[in-house]
């Protein structure tokens, strides 16, 4: 059991948790993730460690509710606990001096990029951050990233905040402006990462992306997380999750992530119907017989 010490929403459906996990907090390095299971019939899902406090024995994760497991997780509050948390898994980000590092975060990818941005800054790099979101209300970690970045740009699809447009437009401006860039780190939806890879490829700017294939064990034991990178099959949980963007087969990743779409949709619909029922039941003081999934 891993007790939750803090839980608060950062944006609609995006929640940050601080969890007691002393062994993980001590071993953690930026870029690594955990796999957790919320309850005894739950599935195992990977989530990036966004901060760790070795002295307090805690780690933080930021979760976007996209399906049953993440939405169920986001109903938990401080004082409750998570059944299983294992980590830190994956290779840490390669933190060294690159000169200027451009960090691009799209949607919840911002949460995944954040710890690496902090580590890059600490290592003496000039950090330029580009954040992308559909609309202002979905933006997360802006303040935290502003304080670790030398420059920060916000791009929104609807122009409700920052500049209107895609993150790749801002990246192109920086590149065309002649900025010497040692590394681009892009984390977000697959189409965004692919667009960034295409933008930096002609100029051979070293570009890394963090991939999010479906995982089970996270220790190299199942091969479910395999991706094509550099012309060969690699296991993202042990060989990644970060890969050289110019070597990744993004089409394959997208295809494999669709493997359980029907089942996922159905589980989400059932879960939401159940949640709605429970809420209404509570409102009218009914005798709710729906099994409470949170133990």
């Amino acid at each position: 059991m891993f007790p939750i010490v803090q839980a608060q929403f950062l944006a609609p459906d995006v929640k940050r948790f601080v969890i007691e996990a002393p062994r993980i907090a001590k071993a953690y390095r930026a870029g690594q993730f955990v796999i957790l299971r919320v309850y005894d019939k739950g599935e195992r899902v990977p989530l990036t460690i966004s901060e760790a406090d070795a002295a307090a024995g805690t780690i933080a994760i930021i979760v976007q509710g996209v399906g049953k497991t993440t939405k169920l997780l986001n109903t938990l509050e401080a004082g409750q606990s998570i059944l299983d948390v294992v980590g830190p898994l994956g290779r840490p980000s390669e933190i060294k001096s690159y000169g200027t590092v451009v960090v691009i975060g799209g949607g919840v990818g911002t949460a995944i990029a954040y710890p690496t941005a902090v580590a890059m800054k600490k290592a003496g790099n000039r950090v330029v951050t580009i954040l992308g979101a559909r609309t202002k209300g979905l933006l997360i970690l802006e303040e935290q990233l502003r304080s670790t970045s030398d420059e920060l740009f916000v791009m929104t699809d609807d122009g409700s905040y920052g500049e209107k447009g895609l993150v790749t437009r801002k990246l192109a401006e920086l590149v065309d402006g002649g900025a010497a860039i040692g590394l681009v780190l892009a984390i977000g939806p697959i189409p965004m990462m692919r667009a960034v890879a295409e933008a930096t490829r002609p100029r051979t700017i070293h570009t890394m992306v963090s991939l999010n294939p479906i995982m089970v064990d996270g220790t190299g034991m199942c091969g479910g997380c395999r991706v094509m990178a550099g012309g060969k099959s690699q296991f993202a949980c042990v060989d990644g999750p970060e890969f050289d963007a110019h070597e990744v087969d993004f089409g394959l990743l997208m295809q494999r992530n669709a493997m359980y779409r029907e089942r996922e949709k159905q589980e989400l619909a059932e879960f939401e119907a159940q949640q709605q029922h429970a809420t209404m039941c509570a409102e009218i003081g009914g005798a709710c017989k729906v099994e409470n999934q949170q133990r």
């Binding site: 062994r23 993980i24 071993a27 299971r37 019939k41 739950g42 599935e43 195992r44 049953k68 497991t69 059944l83 299983d84 948390v85 294992v86 980590g87 830190p88 898994l89 089970v216 064990d217 220790t219 190299g220 034991m221 199942c222 091969g223 479910g224 395999r226 094509m228 099959s233 042990v238 394959l252 295809q255 494999r256 669709a258 493997m259 359980y260 089942r263 996922e264 589980e267």
Partner: protein, 458 residues
């Protein structure tokens, strides 16, 4: 051995073999010739005293029989079910020359189940603490048997397991219909009652290093029993199509995460009414194909590159698979997985094989027959062509010497590794083998560790 009829068992995950009744066990025990040679005992990797326990069965002293087995084998309810008896005890039984060998596995299982069902598993008394702490990495049969022996010598034992449940392959690999998980859980509970501590969700090499366990957490010795759990693929085209699984992933989803039970969240490919192809000829392939059948596959086919005779799987599993309707495609090897435009598997391209000259190991090696390629329909394919060493401990413990393939080097008798205080055994030393060999290694390691802790000499 009474079985669930094939028509019903193909649709459920309950155990296939139903176990012997006492009278049937008696009748079988009577067949034993009580030979002086002890051929059966020599055939057993841990030297179970077969003749003596069978005598006790005949006398109706089932609990004493169980105790006799436990002198050499601490997990009889498990080995009675999963040992490849035909290559071991039963293969050596002298009756086998003229008739059916004594059904030693069934008798072993009968005795162990009797003991469990009568709630009288005699837990040994634990001596006063020695003050020594031992860490065991992994929780498969090697780890569990080592833990059992060490607590009985008064040492404090903690088992660290990467997954969320204890038992190794016994939990995530071998399916419920062959080895009910309650049996494994009971064995684990017995160990816990004897004082063994279990910490799940700890990946040694990631969560904590082996050196940290010894230097910072004060463990006096470590036993590494991490198994050979890494899946091998065939490196043929189309292996990343949707619907192509490693046997490890498929079995983990179904066994550890109960994907077969709608009440659990973990999804698995919905193979109801579909064609499934499993590649391989060992126990793993057999478990995968029979599992696919139980999940509703219309056609469950087993593709193996040698002939049935060479299949390394237990004979009984081959027999059960056939009864259940698994289709055997022997002397066949896949050359490519073919998919549709959206990346879903549709067919497996195969080539026929023929057996050539015997190689150095004495096995005749299969060769493709030119021009014999053909295609088989498949919405799902499961690759079960072998596994390799789990590398995470070795990667972060540079002074732990390994041999080819990343397996850990250990002295055969003491199971000492190149690193002071560290022992290793089971599949991580031998490569993929058997439950009973892993268990034997665990016991050897316990003796080796105890000797080291007493003498302090390396």
């Amino acid at each position: 051995m009474p079985e669930q009829p094939p028509e019903t068992r193909g649709g459920n995950f309950k155990e296939v073999n139903l176990g012997l009744e006492a009278h049937a066990a008696q009748a079988e025990a009577q067949r034993c010739l009580t030979c002086a040679s002890g051929a059966c005992t020599h055939g057993c990797p841990v030297g179970v005293k077969v003749r003596e326990f069978v005598d006790l069965v005949l006398a109706g002293e089932y609990l004493a029989a169980a105790k006799k087995i436990r002198e050499d084998n601490v997990l009889p309810a498990i080995t009675g079910r999963v040992c490849p008896q035909e290559d071991q005890c039963e293969g050596a039984c002298v009756m086998g020359r003229k008739a059916a060998p004594l059904a030693i596995g069934y008798l072993e299982r009968f005795v162990a189940d009797w003991e469990r069902e009568h709630g009288q598993v005699g837990l040994p008394t634990i001596p006063p603490p020695t003050g020594k702490k031992i860490a065991i990495v992994g929780s498969g049969p090697a780890a569990l048997s080592c833990a059992g022996d060490l607590v009985q010598r008064g040492h404090a034992v903690t088992v660290f397991e990467a997954l969320h449940e204890i038992g190794g392959v016994l939990i995530y690999g071998i399916p419920e219909f062959r080895l009910p998980k309650d049996i494994v859980r009971e064995e684990v509970e017995n160990l816990a009652k004897m004082g063994v501590k279990f910490e799940t969700n700890v990946v040694v090499g990631k969560t904590v290093t082996l050196d940290a366990l010894m230097q910072e957490e004060g463990y006096h010795a470590v036993f590494v029993a991490t198994g050979a759990g890494l899946p091998q693929f065939m490196n043929i085209p189309g292996e990343n199509l949707n619907g192509v699984y490693s046997a490890n992933e498929f079995l983990t989803r179904v066994n550890l995460l109960r994907a077969y039970d709608a009440g659990f969240d973990q999804p698995v490919f919905d193979c109801r009414g579909k064609d499934v192809v499993v590649v391989g000829g060992g126990n793993v392939a057999m478990d995968a194909v029979r599992t696919a059948l139980r999940l509703g596959a219309k056609n469950a086919r087993l593709v193996y590159r040698r002939s049935e005779e060479e299949m390394p799987a237990r004979k009984e599993e081959v027999h059960h698979a056939k009864d259940e309707g698994v289709q055997f495609m022997m002397l066949t090897n896949p050359t490519a997985f073919l998919g549709d435009e959206k990346g879903w598997l549709q067919k497996v391209r195969c080539v026929r094989m023929e057996l050539g000259e015997a190689d150095a190991s004495g096995r005749r090696s299969p060769k493709p027959v030119p021009g014999s390629e053909f295609e088989v329909e498949a919405a799902m394919a499961i690759v079960a062509v072998g596994t390799t060493a789990n590398p995470l401990v070795q990667q972060t413990t540079p002074d732990l010497r390994t041999r080819k393939g990343g397996y850990i080097e250990a002295e055969p008798e003491t199971l000492r590794t190149s690193k002071r205080g560290v022992f290793a055994g089971g599949d991580i030393v031998t490569g993929a083998a058997t439950v009973i060999l892993a268990m034997g290694a665990g016991r050897k390691a316990a003796a080796g560790i105890d000797a080291y802790l007493q003498s302090g000499a390396w």
